[in-house]
Amino acid sequence: MNAPLLPGFAQPEDHAQRVFRLLLDALARPGRVQTLPFEFAAPAPLAPATGAAALALLDYETPVWLQSADSAPWLRFHAGCPLVDDPARARFALIDDAGAMPPLSAFAQGEPEYPDRSATLLIQVAGFAPHASTERGPTLRGPIWSGPGIADEVRLGVVGLPDGFWRDWQRNAGHFPLGVDLLLVAGAQVVGLPRTTTVREA
């Protein structure tokens, strides 16, 4: 018999639309922290914002790659999305342990004629450090983000990404217009990192 499942959105239309708007804003304003505007419980190991984004984005047409299968029954019930074993065939990937994630090149990069046929990765991290640069000295200074949607540039540290992640991100940008887009999630917070954004380590 199944273990009890968690419910989905309390108000399906309203909440799904607000989450979709939040994700649009996150990708339109990379490097700016967006916060989920309501309480939401997602099954472990998914963070509230990961679960909410999954319910807003996934349906029967979006193959999903899960790093950990624990949330599979919940996703299948509420989103009805097909789950795939091969990251290259997924349109969305839910990554709960960034330290053990495959390289970005393992996911669908799109085709030259259709760059949108690529994967969007939801990566759970430990947290964001937007204001760490001034007080604690240079060690906590975050990398510098720039690109469309960012006036001049912005500093944002991301806690919990694996070593070498930003080099991997630069390689991802090297294949533009192909590549993957990321949504970084910490608890109820989301930061968009589309393929157009350049991140320099300070």
């Binding site: 018999m1 199944n2 273990a3 009890p4 499942l5 419910p7 989905g8 399906p12 019930f77 509420h78």
Partner: protein
């Protein structure tokens, strides 16, 4: 943990419940004690494509869309009751889901099958037979006679 119930049997009672009148189900439910439960999916209405085959054996074709309301309820043991009904009556879907949940319990099932499902099924069979007989009475057979041109 109890065993999952027989899918064919479950399909049968879900079909019977979906075609029963919500008022009747409501009256029957009032006499039952419900376990602790939570709604996993509140009633939501959508469209489904009904497909048919000409003569029951021909190629598949789309007959038309029909509104369907569905919902799902779960008890603390993890049993899942689902309700799918034609139309837009949310409460009907809820009632089907609640009875589906109750019917998955061995003790409740032993009582509910003879008390609710079998009488409903018998009445639905009788109504279908009457309608079928009335339609059959209007049947016209066409013959083509060869003309001797």
């Amino acid at each position: 943990m109890t065993q999952l119930c027989d899918p064919a049997q479950r399909r049968h009672w879900l079909g019977v419940l979906a075609q029963a009148s919500p008022v009747e189900l409501e009256q029957h439910l009032a006499r039952r004690a419900l376990p602790a439960l939570h709604w996993l999916r509140r009633p939501e209405t959508g469209l489904m494509m009904v497909r048919g085959r000409a003569g029951g054996t021909g190629a598949q074709f789309n007959l038309g869309e029909v509104s369907v309301t569905r919902c799902a309820v779960q008890d603390d043991a993890g049993r899942l009751g689902v309700g799918y009904v034609r139309g837009r009556v949310g409460r009907h879907a809820e009632l089907v889901a609640l009875f589906d949940l109750l019917l998955q319990d061995d003790i409740q099932r032993a009582d509910l099958l003879p008390a609710l499902i079998e009488p409903l099924a018998a009445r639905q069979r009788a109504a279908r037979a009457t309608a079928g007989a009335q339609a059959a009475a209007t049947r016209v057979e066409f013959f083509t006679l060869a003309r001797g041109d």
